[in-house]
Amino acid sequence: MTASSPDTSQPIDFAALLPDGRGLEVAVAADGLTEITADRSRLIEVLRALHDHPELDCDLLLDICGVDYPDREHRFEVVYHLTSVAKNHRFRVRVPVGEDDSRVPTAFGIWKAADWFEREAWDLMGIRFDGHPNLRRILTHEAFQGHALRKDYDPEKRWVLTEAETFVPEWAGEDHGGDGEFESQVINIGPSHPATHGTLRIVARLDGELITRAECEIGYLHRCFEKMSETHGWPEVIPYTDRLNYCSSMINGVGYALGVEKMLGIEAPPRAQVVRVILSEFSRLMDHAVCLGATLVDVGALTNFWYFFQPREEIYSLLESCAGGRLTVSYARIGGLAHEVPTDFEEQVRYLLGRIPKFIDDVDRLVTTNRIFRGRTEGIGALSAEEAIGWGWTGPCLRACGVPYDLRRVNPYLGYEDYEFDIPIATTGDSYGRYLVRLEEMRQSLRIIEQAIDNLPDGPVITDNHRVALPPKSRVYSEMESLIWHFKLIYEGIKVPEGACYSATEGANGELGYYLVSDGTGKPYRIKVRPPCFAIFQAYPHMLEGHLVPDAIAILSSLNIIAGELDR
């Protein structure tokens, strides 16, 4: 399966592919996606056509979310984002749904990836999906009442959960129907567990040590990012984005800033673009270092954890000298970067480029050919490419299944089309493949950084459009006009024009998408984050069947589930 660059010479005549145009409106949206506004009765037909038709071939379901418009006749809008790995075109399908009858047929029969996305839309927005196998709350707890992202829900209204109300699945009481001689046992792996990297709960039914059925529960770190973004201005969301995927916080901020810049129609200056690339690639490297370090700890190899944390500390020094914070940098701003890089930036970057390969090589030498490690990870948690795409996988996990889908190549942004780098793929799709892909990606990141630092242009690091970015302090202290722009920006915020935009970047785990909806005021109307680990983790309970408990741990750590991104 190959991914190719989009062929924009011939726009797809979608209306012709579905002859009956009742209840459908097709248009090209402002952000470049083909947008189809469909009636609820035609939804499944449209989604089927998008999936099955050979010219459309939308095999990757990216996101399903709901948006609340209390002033409209149809209060809710269910929004689907789809793409095709091979053809590389993107679609958005919007379905208006009224408040009294807020139900929509499920897309689970077409894409397995719809599973958890629809549960989230039910939990946070209250839209029912008919035919969904397991429509329960996913991010909030059982005792929660109401639907939190509706506009009439008070952001600070909490519900207390007592221990008696924690969820146990119905099948927990059944026997797995084996030979009847031994009982099956149901255990909890997590949520407080050294190997669950945060807060995940896996309820597993065991036959000895073999897992016969599993179900996952998430939401233990649901920090209400999307509701918080509705109560703060556009620039103030940036510290919140840092805490999404906290291992590589720069990438989230840059992705958000790119989305807002797309809506505003401005571009960051070239120097800011290159510095964003350098710091994003360092963040990607850091994230892979933590993932591999944690994988190796879970398998029993502790030394590599220390070896990987040393380059992390050295990159922290670089980030701290640029931005002031080690882990949560808040360095990106809408229109560029917060401030100029320090004068010894190039020196620090070159020093790191010389130091980091040694640590990667050390771990490579210790682990890659090690027979114990291979025995623990080879063949464990293998998925085929079709299955992975059906579940909505992107990123290194998908590349380990043999699909060379990387947004930096297929939909380049920030000037990635000018850099030379390779995309590592493996064909096995197991944990060992994911380890190898991440290790090689670290080396490719270093390659990109070297090319970027060799060609760092001069110039400003933030746009001079003062409707968007704060004026420089030297002018604020001396000129009246700059002072007025400063006051207006802080008090009124950035006035992003009305509209919606989906902007995706390649995060460390896969496609990190932001669906931004603006109503023209200084605060976001709705921000939906498409987290890469959400789609990856929903396949996990199905991957577990037939594996042993220690294998479950080895698979979990190789998927790199970051709870901040998963639960938002």
Binding site: D154, E163, C224
Partner: protein, 161 residues
């Protein structure tokens, strides 16, 4: 053992001081890490800062085998019963360090699913601010806890007396 006039005997104060010295120098942490602060905790135990120099060598995720719970990261309403249960399972004497803005007060998440400070349901000895606190700040927090243990002013001592 208290004397008739309320003060402690010489032997037991010496014993208390020795016990406090032993306890403060072998605090085994239970890192209840949920979010970004857990990554900074991992940095603190890594070779660059090395928490093991203060006696916190054995980082066990089991409440039965640890003295000090470091709540690192945001605690949500869904996670709160779990924290309470783990805290109850710890053997006494036990101490709690609340690391980071989210664990101390809820941070900037004034939201519908976030506990506004873990001291809503467990007693906290030391609050370490920061988002996330630097490893030095966390070590300063542990040093402060050691001081409190030596002087007998932790929450555990208050509940005991």
């Amino acid at each position: 053992m208290r004397q008739p006039d309320g003060s402690s005997a010489l032997l037991t104060t010496r014993l208390d001081a020795m016990l406090a010295w032993a306890r403060k120098n072998s605090l085994w942490p239970l890192p209840f890490g949920t979010a970004c602060c857990a990554i900074e905790f991992m940095s603190t135990v890594s070779s660059h800062y090395d928490l093991a120099r203060f006696g916190a060598e054995v980082v066990r995720f089991s409440p039965r085998q640890s003295d000090m719970m470091i709540v690192a990261g945001t605690i949500t309403d869904k996670m709160a019963p779990v924290v309470k249960r783990i805290y109850d399972q710890m053997a006494e004497p036990k101490y709690v360090i609340s690391m980071g803005a989210c664990a101390c007060t809820g941070g900037f998440y004034r939201a519908y699913h976030v506990v506004q400070g873990v001291d809503e349901f467990i007693p906290v000895d030391v609050y370490v601010p920061g988002c996330p606190p630097t490893p030095e700040a966390l070590m300063e927090g542990i040093l402060k806890l050691q001081e409190l243990i030596q002087s007998g002013e932790t929450q555990y001592d208050r509940l005991k007396s």
